[in-house]
Amino acid sequence: MLGEGAGTGSGGQEMMHLGLGPQHPAMHGIIRIVTELDGEVIRKADVEIGYLHRAFEKDCEVGGYNNAIPYTDRLNYVSPLINNFAYASAIEKLLDIDVTERCKYIRTIMSEISRVCDHLTCVGATAMELGAFTVFLYMIKAREFLWELVEDVTGARLTISYGRVGGVKADLPDGFAAQATRAFKDVREVLSEVHRLLTGNRIFMDRMVGVGVLSREETIAYSITGPLLRGVGVGYDVRRAQPHWAYDRVDFEVPTQKDGDNYSRYLVRMAEMEQSMRIAEQALATMPGGPIQVDWEGRAVEPPAYVDQGKQGKTDGLLLVPIRLSPNLEGQERRKHVQVNADDKRVVLPPKEHTYGSIEGLMNHFMLIMEGYGIRPPLGEAYFATEGANGELGFYVVSDGTDRPYRVRCRPPCLPPLAALPRMIEGEMIADLIPTFGSVNMIGGELDR
């Protein structure tokens, strides 16, 4: 859908209208940019979005509070863990409950891994669109190392649904720290290779330096946050400004650059990946309630045998017997469950030992799962923000006291930069649109919701 007819004349000059998108090979994302060209120079641009509008906010109103978690995965599908946790934290704020320390650390670690994945994809895709295909292959290779970590923890590579209101789905698997250290080492190697390939590269710099500039004032007026804001020298980062989870207990820098061009954004992202890995490493090292050394004695029983014993009234000591859970539920055994979930029966499902082995546990489980019951925050509203990969990711939730959210609003971090995209590309060459579009890192799921 490229090149849709020539257009109007103005001032005696023929202007050409060129529509890019909604499906364009050099743009990763479905969006339509209608440009008005004077030769090769963009005089005017109009951005049209909404091609991936999937009614996220309406869908959230239909199910219970935890039912919205899978939808949040698919907002920013490059860093879904951050969305999960931000949404869960917004509901926790509404409920006024606090999660366990270990859970906060897990959220911090997994968010940072997600952020690295996001930046890897963004830088890789931008480089690919400029012809540096090698960088893309390298970056996706590095992302694959991290996805293996994510898969070990959550059971899925991409759409993970790992966050829960009041905690996380399961504890980290044994030996996670060692695995993470190994993956980070591999990622760092890839990053140093990419630095050698791109950072001083003449062609890359020609396309990036001084292109897509947005001034500091305009960036703020457009409420742009994230790497674009830090690219103009404003060190605003929600992790630093309003510390949540375990961000106040780790040491990290907020990298900034001055120029506000594509190259600055690239440098900010590259530096942030290193910082994210630093945060994750520190959090892994200082995490409370670390891996349990001694396992339970005795053999684990299968759930049906466990239920049978309970039915026969042999409940004495039953709750101390571990159950052999399906691999999907690994990390949710009682001893791990209490470490990562808030101690609040209104919100968190009981551990499976209780569900299978005691009537109270079963009731508790049903009270959270059954239609018309579930989590019921009191009347009210709350806004919770965290630093997504593209900037401030906020969830504004309104509760009407029932078991389903009355309104869920996601503040999409990549909408403001897209609204300002015409300001960045007007007056530049048509070819400059591609790196600029790459550097704003448009993610359809989050932009259009």
């Binding site: 909604p22 292959l137 259009d448």
Partner: protein, 152 residues
């Protein structure tokens, strides 16, 4: 069996064999599935082993339309137009459950399966499908291409 039909069936076989290993795909990437599409295309899973490594970013030069990700009603006319622009012979792969049925997006914005708009040859379910199932779907498509009536 006459000599003529012997030759045409052998020619069909040869053509089918050649076609199945020279798939030029058009990735119509819209959403989350695109991330897994990238993963499948890159070094870890390497779709090039199946002769499908080169995407053509013009529908006129592509054989297979990979519809990767949710199609909204706003996007549907675009998809139809891309499909119409492709030359015969052409195949369509529905990548991910949103393209197969609409997935869990049962709402006002989402097309409930792209087969309501264009014909589909292979469905790859999953949200998103793992690279292994993508490769499985691709191999199923190759089998279809190999045995389908060849036009020349």
């Amino acid at each position: 069996m006459g000599v003529g039909s012997f030759f045409t069936s052998k020619l069909d076989e040869a053509l089918g064999w050649a076609r199945k290993y020279s798939i030029f795909q058009y990735p119509f990437v819209t959403a989350c599935c695109g991330m897994e599409y990238m993963a499948t295309a890159c070094s870890h899973y390497d779709i090039d082993r199946f002769g499908a490594g080169l995407p053509r970013f013009s529908p006129r030069q592509a054989d297979v339309l990979f519809v990767v990700g949710t199609i909204s009603h706003k996007m549907a006319p675009v998809l139809k137009r891309i499909y119409d622009q492709m030359t015969e012979p052409k195949w369509v792969v529905a990548f991910g459950v949103c393209t197969c049925t609409g997935g869990f997006y049962d709402n006002y914005a989402t097309v409930q399966g792209i087969d309501t708009i264009i014909p589909v040859d292979v469905y790859i379910p999953g949200c998103p499908p793992r690279p292994e199932s993508v490769i499985d779907g691709l191999m199923k498509l190759q089998d279809q291409i190999a045995v389908s009536a060849q036009r020349y």
